[in-house]
Subunit: 230 residues, 2 copies
Amino acid sequence: MSKDVARPSLSDALTERVLELIRSGGLRPGDRLPSARELSERFAVTTPTLREALRRLEATGAVQMRHGSGIYVGADLERVVIPNPNVRPLQGDQLLQLLDARLLIEPPLAAMAARRAEPGDLERLRTVLDQAGRHLEGEDAELDAANMSFHRAAAHASGNAVLGEVIDSLLSVHGAEQREILRIFDDRRRDHEDHRAILGAIEAGDAGRAEELMRAHLRDVTKVIASRLA
Amino acid sequence: MSKDVARPSLSDALTERVLELIRSGGLRPGDRLPSARELSERFAVTTPTLREALRRLEATGAVQMRHGSGIYVGADLERVVIPNPNVRPLQGDQLLQLLDARLLIEPPLAAMAARRAEPGDLERLRTVLDQAGRHLEGEDAELDAANMSFHRAAAHASGNAVLGEVIDSLLSVHGAEQREILRIFDDRRRDHEDHRAILGAIEAGDAGRAEELMRAHLRDVTKVIASRLA
């Protein structure tokens, strides 16, 4: 038996115990956990072994380890679906599949948002569009982040958190390529106007129009990418 | 600065270097990596530090650490979306949202499968349904696994790997609840016949019918769950 490989059962069990500590303590994202030393004492394991369990939890967003500050409950603890943190920039076919996935899911979510968005959802959508508007003449990265926030907020406004997580995951891996899209789409204003029109339909409670506008918007983006890859 | 928390940049960089080793070496899922000791020498870090990076990669399915055997490339390395390994059994509302997500995505995937499934896809679908058939009188867990495999295989047959990963992720967190569904659905034969009919439509290349049957099937399941939660 190699000394290189720890007993998986121990690491699994430790991970479970840290999760149990978080949940039974009613800790929420952002709350601080005991230090690694305190945790290793509590669970009667060595600090390196405890740290392995923490790294597993960190990789999936269940905890956050802040250098020099401590260990905190992560924002993704209770998510169903998460983006793969190791993914490479998407290549041709995979990028088109990702856009097809968004085309399938986001238009019906826009319709759902038009039917049930709450004042807070609408406020959030307006805020991110205003931010995007201020970045129209600025850096690609900031405009990109604001535009992705719009798509995330629209998915969230649908009220289905699981589908919101799916879209968030798809957008996360999309980031780098998206900036390239911005450059080739080369019509930041039209992109922004598309987003404004979608928000208008959601605000008006017009589900059919919100769905149709979101579909047309994503089809345009897909068309540009596809022609570029061809 | 606390000694408890390692520099995140070192752990991040190490993770990147292991990924780079896998990718530049053209390693595929199942291929074996050098031992933790060899890797720590290669990257000039201590074994505990190296093991932290490996645990991060393990948590997201990029590597697999087999006790007493070694370190292998994991099956999920190149996925875009993964299930959260820390998720708890889904509760009422979250379970309904998950079923709504499946209802939105799986019917169009069944239609896509009817349009473009290849002989290997159809073979796989027949095999998992035959397995399910043999478990109809057997253990819940085995029948459940076979039924989930059918939904996974149908999504895969759509040809969109990203959407296949989304459905795989949703089904992974669904597992425990699904067995409960089987008990309350209490009509294993009807469930199985539903699956057979969906496969029939896919085999016949009838996209509209495949979509409609998948939707009706998932609506039935959702109805049973919703009435039970009410």
